[in-house]
């Protein structure tokens, strides 16, 4: 068992490295195909008045006229030695730029995830125990509603309502606790929808099981039944979904940050993407790949702890025995 785990972990690690390198190369190719780069676009600012010949001369002086494969090789060598290089846009070290904005995104993403989990748990609880006449059916429609309202719309409504109208937070101070709270709501709502969908489906399944009937027969109240008996078996596929929503959180934080004016990874990506700042984009995409791969790896490793029935079978992939097959199949980005 332990050896199987090690082999499994090693294989996943190699796959992870391949994914990250591929992400790096792909970003390079995609961005290189696009016309323009931050250096020439600064030179082409009409205020500058440089002629085309002067621009070419300056570009050549910085080695930007070299063939793309040569540039890719140079940058890949630097990347492999841990040197992320300098931003073409700002001329500052990419590592510094990321370190500057990472904390803000981590705070927002974790707060968003917390909001999403709380909301999902509340929806799950309500879907089981809210009396029908108080709108249980209506509540069950919430995940679909949450999923179909883009988070920037939620963000804008929150800003106008709570920022400008009620003055609960200062729009110009987006890193304050209050502003972060509202940003986390905007980010957490759509994310909660996916978690709630899966949670509700599983709660429905579990509450029909005999053990649930027995527990109810023993006179257990709804909260105890929910927390002590239903939640744990229902949360196994939810772990997979949470791991997948990390992508949603990263992507969503990009938009939420822009809407709320926070300076995080999202705004860094946005600035770099609009100016085609290759080194920064490569670093951020690789970072996102690392996060995504790691989180999914952790999710897979957490399975056996939640469900002792999960066994590592021949192909070293964890499979929750008896659990929904489709949930297991979407268990991570590294499924070959």
């Amino acid at each position: 068992m332990r050896n199987a785990y090690r082999a499994y972990a090693a294989k996943r690690l190699v796959q992870a490295v391949v994914v990250i390198l591929l992400a790096y190369v792909l970003t390079f190719v995609v961005v290189s195909i696009l016309p323009g780069d931050p250096i020439t676009s600064v030179l082409r600012d009409p205020q500058n008045g440089f002629t085309e010949a002067e621009i070419q001369e300056i570009v050549a002086a910085q080695g930007l006229d070299k063939p793309i494969p040569v540039q890719l090789w140079t940058s890949l060598c630097h990347f492999l030695t841990g040197d992320l290089g300098l931003s073409m846009r700002s001329s500052r070290p990419v590592a510094t730029l990321i370190a500057e904005v990472l904390p803000s995104t981590l705070v927002l993403a974790s707060a968003g995830l917390a909001v999403a989990l709380l909301l999902a748990a509340a929806l799950g609880y309500g879907s089981q125990f809210l009396p029908k006449r108080f709108g249980q059916g209506f509540l069950r429609g919430f995940p679909a509603l949450f999923l179909s309202v883009p988070n920037f719309v939620i963000g804008l409504v929150l800003i106008h309502l709570f920022g400008f109208q009620f003055g609960f937070f200062r729009v110009l101070d987006p890193d304050s606790v209050r502003a972060t709270f509202f940003a986390a709501i905007a980010l957490g709502i759509p994310v909660s929808a996916q978690i709630a969908e899966v949670l509700i489906a599983n709660l429905d399944h579990e509450s029909r099981q005999e053990y649930a009937a027995v527990a109810r027969g023993r006179g257990l109240g709804p909260t105890r039944l929910f927390v002590r008996h239903l939640l744990k078996p229902s949360s196994l596929p939810v772990v997979t979904v949470i791991a997948l929503t990390i992508g949603e959180l990263l992507g969503g934080s990009l938009i939420t940050e822009t809407v709320f004016g926070r300076t995080g990874i999202g705004s860094l990506v946005q600035r770099s993407a609009t100016s085609h700042d290759l080194p920064v984009l490569q670093a951020v995409v690789s970072l996102a790949a690392v996060v995504f791969v790691l989180v999914n790896l952790i999710a897979d490793l957490v399975y056996p702890l939640l469900d002792p029935r999960v066994k590592l079978i021949g192909d070293h992939r964890p499979r929750p025995a008896g659990a929904d097959e489709s949930a297991a199949d979407t268990s991570g980005a590294v499924t070959p």
Partner: protein, 551 residues
């Protein structure tokens, strides 16, 4: 993930445009209608927040000084040798006086003494020489660009003594002194200049001699400036030379246009940059200060590529000149704060002359010219010649927010006389790659460029001396060549002014340049409690002299 990048800003804008009605109602009761107090004695202290749409890319001084955004910060952190006011009048600043030889090839600058950079280095003659050298040449292999409009005729400079600099040029360069007041010509500590590019890019470590210091900053987020207490060398022209009054200025990036305006309306910020022109009237009525300073430079208009048919025909260009209704552009897209173009350079530039009669709206004349040129009206009212429609592709200039709207209106005006107009809009990066002066796919390049000295026009007319050749003329127009050489070689404004007048008349008559309106690229909406700011020749606001009442 990339698919989700673009929609938010669009939809957000729509939503934000829809919501201000409610917001305005709430705001009217707070900041908006509070009457401004009469100015008493300037009160020291106070902090202001300036909301800006971008904070640019790099902070390497040479590469960012001319930025429409970063120029605001540099204007407070650094000084210049010369001050140029909104009317193009030049006056002493760090250079207390100057002399030039008869041929305008050698200049002597006498510097103010006792001036220091914030790192303690004296701002003396060697420091000025170091700045002149890097403005001219940059350090290209390091990624430090030369200053775009610094005279390319520069030869060298030498420090005669601690307070005297002699500057030499290869040919007459009358524009040198005014250029010292241009936004690119900011004085930076030689210690900063000596650093490699990656370290120059750290704004927090850059030292200027200006009235404010960088207190803290975060890329893509904000720059906070605090007052330098021992500052004592402001430009006499602004009426104050001691330390600034306001304690701090925070430039905060808020990319969304309507959010910047709402924040000023709700009192959360003091200045909003680039509000929508059509909102200015209602902002004014609500009691906010609105400023639409014009910079010195070219007017907003099209440089026509004469290499491309049908614009190789002077009659077609003249028809274009007569078919644009400039007053309608101001009435529809702008407000009365915008002024009619009188020439192809802004009317506040010394040397600009009034040629409005050449820019009159005369559709009948335009039709007559096109008829004479063989363009006859066909189906759908479009004119044809030799099986080709009379077409024009405009490329909206992303550096001017109203460019697309102006293009659309011009397209309607031209459509009435049989022109088929297409408009393309690109982002800044793609625009820079695809849209250039006299490129084979660009019949009309929309100009937005400031300059300090009217002599600059000599460098855009042809391709001689590394010129930009805006009209694709090369050396083909002898009259332009002659005017170019005589303007570039003029040793005094007295000689040059009549030549400039002749040039303006000729360029407009020939339809080389089609002016649209005088350009206002920098628009400000401001809390009425903030007063006393000054706009310089490049339309940047300086809060060095500003005060904010607490009442």
């Amino acid at each position: 993930m990339t698919e989700r990048l673009s929609p938010p800003s669009l939809s957000r804008r729509h939503l934000l445009i829809a919501t201000p009605a409610a917001a305005t109602a709430a705001l009217a009761t707070t900041a908006g209608l509070r009457p401004a107090r009469g100015a008493g004695s300037p009160n020291d202290g106070g902090d202001i927040t300036f909301l800006i749409d971008s904070l640019g890319g790099t902070w390497i001084p040479n590469n960012s000084a001319i930025s429409s955004f970063q120029g605001h910060i540099w204007g407070h952190v650094t000084d210049k040798l010369i001050y140029v006011d909104a009317d193009g009048k030049i006056s002493p600043w760090i250079a207390e006086r100057w002399e030039q030889n008869d041929t305008a090839t050698a200049f002597t600058l006498h510097l103010k003494q006792g001036v220091t950079f914030s790192d303690g280095t004296p701002l003396d003659a060697p420091a000025v020489v170091a700045n002149l050298d890097i403005w001219y040449a940059g350090r290209r292999n390091e990624g430090i660009n030369p200053i775009g409009l610094f005279p390319k005729t520069y030869d060298h400079a030498e420090a005669v003594d601690a307070a005297t600099v002699k500057v030499f040029f290869k040919v007459p360069t009358l524009g040198f002194i005014p250029t010292l007041g241009y936004h690119g010509s900011i004085l930076i500590s030689p210690k900063t200049i000596a650093r490699p590019a990656a370290r120059q890019a750290n704004l927090g470590k850059t030292s200027g001699s200006g009235p404010y210091l960088v207190d803290s900053w975060k890329e893509g987020d904000f720059v906070r400036l605090v007052r330098r207490k021992d500052y004592n060398w402001g430009p006499p022209a602004v009426g104050h030379t001691g330390p600034a009054f306001l304690d701090s200025i925070t430039y905060k990036l808020v990319a969304e246009q309507s959010l910047r305006v709402s924040a000023v309306q709700s009192g959360q910020a003091d200045i909003g940059y680039s509000p929508p022109p059509l909102e200015l009237q209602s902002l004014k009525e609500a009691g906010f200060t609105v400023a639409t300073p014009r910079y010195l430079g070219f007017v907003n208009g099209w440089a026509i590529n004469t290499k491309l048919a049908p614009f190789d025909d002077v009659r077609v260009r003249q028809a274009l000149q007569a078919a644009i209704n400039r007053q309608e552009i101001i009435d529809t897209v702008y407000t009365p704060d915008w002024k009619l173009a009188e020439s192809f350079i802004q009317s506040n530039v010394p040397g600009a002359t009034d040629h409005r009669e050449l820019l009159a709206y005369d559709p009948a004349r335009a039709e007559k010219l096109l008829d004479a040129a063989g363009w006859t009206k066909g189906a759908g009212g479009i004119r044809w010649k030799d099986g080709k429609p009379l077409s024009l592709t405009l490329h909206a200039n992303p550096y001017l927010a109203t460019s697309k709207a102006v293009g659309e209106l011009s397209a309607q005006q031209l459509g009435r006389i049989g022109w088929k107009v297409a408009i393309r809009a690109y982002d800044v990066v793609t625009f820079g790659e695809k849209v250039r002066f006299n490129s084979p796919t660009v019949p009309a390049y929309e100009v937005t460029r400031s300059f300090i000295d009217a002599g600059t026009v000599a460098s855009i007319l042809t391709d001689a001396n590394n010129g930009e050749d805006w009209f694709g003329l090369g050396e083909s127009d002898p009259k332009i060549n002659e005017l170019r050489d005589r303007i570039a070689g003029a040793g005094s404004a007295r000689v040059r002014d009549p030549l400039l007048d002749e040039l303006q008349k000729y360029v407009l008559e020939q339809g080389y340049f089609i002016p649209l309106t005088q350009i206002v690229q920098r628009i400000y909406v401001q809390n009425p409690k903030l007063k006393g700011e000054v706009y310089n020749g490049i339309a940047y606001a300086s809060y060095y002299t500003a005060t904010k009442s607490t009442a």
